[in-house]
Symmetry: C2
Subunit: 208 residues, 2 copies
């Protein structure tokens, strides 16, 4: 479906484009030029036009871009309208924070279930999300095709849980454990959220 290979740098900017266009739309802005958008995002107009040209022609000479239309195009490109589903693995502190506070639906995901082992929470419902026992994961995945597994389990079971998700047919892993998952051989995509790496980069930058 996709024409050329899109570079990782471009992919990382797409969500920012979406976010900015969404705010522009909410604030009532109808159209914007690449130079105005660039100014507000700290990018060059050239880069924005170059980035967008990877996916099609969304603007109009002399006019610029229609904010709502471009937002829609980018949400399609990002797969926000693909009916993606997610499950959370590990409903401890971080897992619970994500279940209760992160709005998966704003990114086009339906958070369908979570899995844990703690007797106190298995069988309960958290912010509308049922918590099942991890032993039932395979059965669940067989009956409910799932796009993404959100890994918030303890380190020691991270690799094993990842393998079970891959075997169960998920297409991506959103990895909050600080394990480097090695999924070469499968075509499952891993997106790492390494808090410590982020804080250490900040530490470097403030250390003169």
């Amino acid at each position: 479906m996709r024409k050329q290979k899109v570079s990782s740098a471009v992919i990382r900017r797409l969500p920012r484009y979406y976010r900015h266009l969404n705010e522009l739309h909410l604030s009532g802005t109808v159209r914007i030029s690449s130079s105005a958008l660039g100014k507000s995002m700290g990018l060059t107009a050239s880069q924005i036009r170059q980035d967008l040209s990877c996916f099609g022609e969304f603007g109009q000479q002399g006019y610029g871009y229609n904010v709502e239309k471009l937002r829609g195009e980018i949400s399609d490109i990002l797969g926000m309208n693909s009916g993606h589903t997610a499950v959370v693995l590990g409903a401890g502190n971080l897992g619970r924070a994500l279940i209760e506070n992160f709005h998966f639906e704003l990114s086009g995901f339906h958070l369908a279930a979570a899995f844990d082992v703690a007797p106190g929470i298995v069988g309960t419902v958290m912010s509308g999300v049922p918590i099942y026992h991890i032993d039932t994961l395979e059965g669940y995945l067989a009956g409910h095709p799932t796009s993404v597994g959100v890994l918030t389990v303890p380190r020691r079971v991270a690799a094993e849980t990842a393998a079970r998700l891959v075997a169960g047919g998920v297409r991506g892993l959103w990895n909050f454990t600080n394990i480097e998952l090695d999924l070469r051989g499968s075509d499952v995509v891993v997106e790492n959220v390494h808090f410590a790496d982020s804080l250490l980069a900040l530490s470097y930058m403030i250390s003169e």
Copy 2:
């Protein structure tokens, strides 16, 4: 102090080097060559040597690198031994998850305090971290020089809280709100953790 400008790409790899070297050290590995390290990290040997050469000469011809020594050098470069301190702003779900689960000290930070407004938690201690009322922030910062403010407050007070931290003299902001902070004019560094951007990048990658 620093010689040349180090590119952002290099800075982002430093924490990964640190993490890998730490694991190598814990598993008892004493020395490693750039090519072996590259293989295990998915980088070229060239890139590793080029990256390290930004900061000095840490290896030895014919031998490679001493794992423990290189780990120590990189921790210094990252500022992990600079006595950095942090405070958390907003001890709600995400703030609490960070306070209780994220090991700031493993990144060389001392998490000294948190601030909130909820009567139920102001005055309590969470995992050894005292929770103060946000009204006392200025007084606290005046008496306790603080390196980094961890922003986990609600959207609507994010900009204001950031401004108060900047006025209070912090050097960096670790921003978990999905607001794009505009701190041009100050020399405070912002490190954004945009969960939604990360999930949307994953969404793109699994959407063929």
